[in-house]
């Protein structure tokens, strides 16, 4: 059974059919890319699957369980993590703390125990601090372990979000344009990072405009256009699909 | 028996609509500023107070009535603009809490200055066309009430015309929907902000003047009037002009009815119970209001 199954998913905003009858499935452990021109509904699709939006119709199944309409924090509990196209970093906290927030569900959140500084809480926190520092090294941010989030450059923040998502110890991670706004060198670094994440066993679902990166990384690709599924398959298959070429690849390769 | 009940009902209705018109003008003021800048101006009530108090001052200083009233509207408008320039513009983009506190600070300054300058006494203005009450089906209606309602109606129509038929008004509306887009098409959004504060203050002051012959004025009437005007704006749907007017009338009527039929001691609590109920059951207000979501 596929890890994620999407069946006839649709959402409508007033008159705009942002996503229409999209169906696909994702096997565990692969890198799956979603591409399409701007406005094709890629981020909307992500928002639907990660609980930010509720679909007007259709079904989403994670490991056989229906999850459409569930709140993002409930999905987090089921091992779904994501990053955002428009960075959602807590600028009021340090970089390390941002990553630690990702591990929220794995900790004891009782306020009374916290207020009393019980040893169980402080011990777990110290462990988490070490773990989070490790994650920051994993994503290439050793230089910023002691930094405040608001002092970090854009490229670093994008990687910080990935570290935060990984802190969740997710089964599946949704990366919404991880290379957006990055220069070519940074893009190569992110490419390598995504590979690293996939190699660690996490299923990666990716929205990206950078075609080289997509072709390099992905095992399978979904092409959207105007909210509809245009094509799906391996990089080679998609590349040769005449509809896709006509709609999209022609202007971007 | 039925006549007495009818008379009583009408009495409450009249007093409710009269004060409701003041709330409506205050609510319109809130709405204008909220639409132009997303700020909830807690100093709005003080503009109402300024209208009444300044009208009293200028009249007592010997100025002819019409001039006194005009000044009592202009001066608050200027103060409104000062507020915008000195206190709101410098902190554009600040957190909601910050802005709320700034406007509350401004309201304290205005109120304090009036207290120092004009004292804590209560004052009145002569009714515009005499005090002979009009009898309607056993209830009495003060002529001043007709002034309040009449002028408010004229103002509302004028505003409607301004916003829907004139270029300047449409520019203001455009800014309220999408500031960035408005700027891109060449609308001077600073000017829009400036105008909304000026108009908002003028509206409040006007309401204050109109109602002073009936409910009197003093340095501290602004607090409750402002808060209730705010409730009215929320009831109508924050950001919606028609809602503000209807909200104002509704709050006024419910307040009067509640005071009359249920308990006059709790009269002041009614608008606030209303806002809580609205937030529980119809948070967007009667007319939908502006959504503050930005996902």
């Amino acid at each position: 059974m596929a890890l994620l199954e999407v069946k006839q998913l649709s959402i409508q905003f007033e008159g705009v059919k942002a996503v229409q009858n999209v169906s696909f499935s994702i096997e565990a452990g692969i890198v799956y890319a979603v591409i399409g021109p701007n406005g094709a509904g890629k981020t909307t699709l992500f928002n639907l699957i990660t609980g930010v939006y509720t679909p007007t119709s259709g079904e989403i199944k994670l490991d056989g369980e229906s999850i459409q309409g569930k709140a993002p924090n409930e999905l987090a509990r089921r091992g779904v993590a994501r990053t955002f196209q428009n960075l959602q970093i807590c600028m009021n906290m340090s970089a390390l703390e941002n990553v630690m927030v990702g591990a929220h569900l794995r900790l004891d959140r009782n306020p009374f125990k916290a207020a009393l500084r019980l040893p169980s809480i402080t011990r777990r926190d110290a462990e988490l601090r070490t773990e989070s520092a490790e994650l920051m090294r994993f994503v290439g941010l050793e230089a910023y372990i002691d930094a405040r989030a608001d002092s970090m450059p854009y490229g670093a923040l994008k990687r910080l979000e990935i570290a935060r998502a990984l802190a969740l110890k997710p089964r599946i991670i949704f990366l919404d344009e991880p290379a957006a706004g990055l220069n070519p060198k940074e893009t190569i670094e992110v490419d390598a990072l995504v590979r690293k994440v996939a190699d660690s066993g996490v299923t990666v679902v990716l929205v990206e405009h950078d075609m080289k990166m997509v072709m390099n990384l992905s095992d399978r690709i979904l092409v959207l256009d105007y909210g509809r599924k245009l094509a799906e398959g391996t990089g080679e298959e998609v590349r040769r699909n005449p509809d896709v070429i006509a709609a999209y690849l022609g202007t971007h390769a | 028996m039925g006549d007495v009940m009818l008379a009583q009902f009408l009495q409450f209705l009249f007093s409710g609509i009269t004060v409701g018109a003041t709330y409506a003008l205050a609510a319109l003021g809130f709405t204008l500023i909220y639409n132009a800048s997303n700020v909830i101006n807690f100093a709005q009530g003080e503009f109402i107070m300024l209208g009444g108090m300044l009208a009293v001052f200028f009249t007592q200083a010997g100025l002819p009535f019409p001039l006194a009233l005009t000044l009592a509207i202009l001066v608050p408008a200027i103060i409104g603009v000062l507020l915008e320039k000195l206190a709101i513009e410098p902190v554009k983009g600040a957190e909601t809490v910050t802005l709320i506190i700034i406007t509350i600070g401004a309201s304290l300054v205005i109120r304090g200055l009036i207290q120092v300058w004009l004292g804590k006494g209560t004052h009145s203005l002569p009714a515009f066309s005499g005090d002979v009450p009009i009898e309607i089906l056993g209830a009495t209606l003060m002529p001043q009430s007709l002034w309040v309602l009449g002028v408010t109606a004229v103002v509302v129509v004028a505003l409607w015309y301004f916003f829907n038929r004139t270029l300047h008004g449409k520019a203001m509306l455009a800014t309220s929907f999408n500031r960035a887009a408005a700027e891109l098409v060449g609308i001077n959004t600073s000017w829009v902000l400036f105008m909304s504060f000026a108009m908002s203050a003028a509206l409040g002051a006007l309401g204050g003047i109109l109602v002073t012959p009936i409910t009197l004025t003093s340095y501290d009437v602004g607090i409750m009037l402002g808060l209730k005007g705010f409730v009215a704006a929320v009831v109508g749907g924050l950001g919606n002009g028609l809602g503000a007017v209807l909200g104002g009338l509704l709050v006024g009527i419910l307040e009067a009815m509640g005071a009359g039929y249920i308990s006059s001691a709790y009269k002041d609590a009614i608008p606030f119970v209303l806002i809580l109920l609205m937030l529980f059951f119809m948070p967007r207000g009667l007319f939908g209001g502006k959504s503050t979501d930005r996902v």
Partner: protein
Amino acid sequence: MKKNTYTGLYIVIAILVVLPFVLPNGFYMDLAIRMAINAVIALGLNLLIGFAGQISMGHAGFLGIGAYASAVLPTHFGWHPLLAMGAGALVTGLLAAVLARPIFKLKGHYLAMATLGLGIIINIVLRTEGALTGGPDGMPVPALGLMGFELSSDKHWYWVVALLLSVSVWASLNLIDSPFGRALRALHGSEVASQVAGVDVVRYKVSIFVISAVFASLMGSVTAHYVGFVTPNFADFFHSIELVTMVVIGGMASVFGSLVGAVLLTALPQALATFEGWETVAFGTILMICMIFMPRGLVPTLAAKFGKGA
């Protein structure tokens, strides 16, 4: 956030211990006690406003519930003061929970409106139900005592309040650097991000609102017992604004900022007491100037300045 932020706590404790020996007379002792009480209230409110990024414009209402519970229940119903205090806190907690849940599902200014409405309603009720509450003139509050020992001398009160303050600062510092605290701060930083990290946003907002309200109620009871008298002004809109101002001026999301804010805003009315109307003007001007030039509040702004200089 660096470890060992207890340095600040130690400084506070040191000040508290030394203070009674330095203060010239009873007037200053009383002022110090009031400052400490306000500091605890400000701490509780700061958790809500500064850390979680929410707002309460009617917090004095919760103070009032606690204060009047401590006045009415023992006086009219013979309850033990401690029991009354607990009852006040319980009622406040329930009220806050009932109000918060539907409100927090909405976005935007709604909480400000709801808390505003609630605060005013509480104030009006206290003012109107004269038979129970003594109406606008208020009513006396019996002394707080336990097993025969009554808390009445200023000296005793000082140490009780100093202890309360120290514990509150300690608890706040602990809370901030904990999973719960981080979740709150993340909520403020980016609600969406905290959601996808698994934070049940609505539940957290409700929790912190209730905690903050119960805190206020308890401190309302403490104040009532200390002053020995309570009036509806204690629970009015102006007082609610004063409390928010303490938090905001001192520095939102700064524990020590709340203390500074409380000290300043307790001292200020005293300093301006003779000037009535000017007091209002001064208060308003200070508010505006602080918010325009130091929106982050005194302590964070100064800390940043000195941090840069260091």
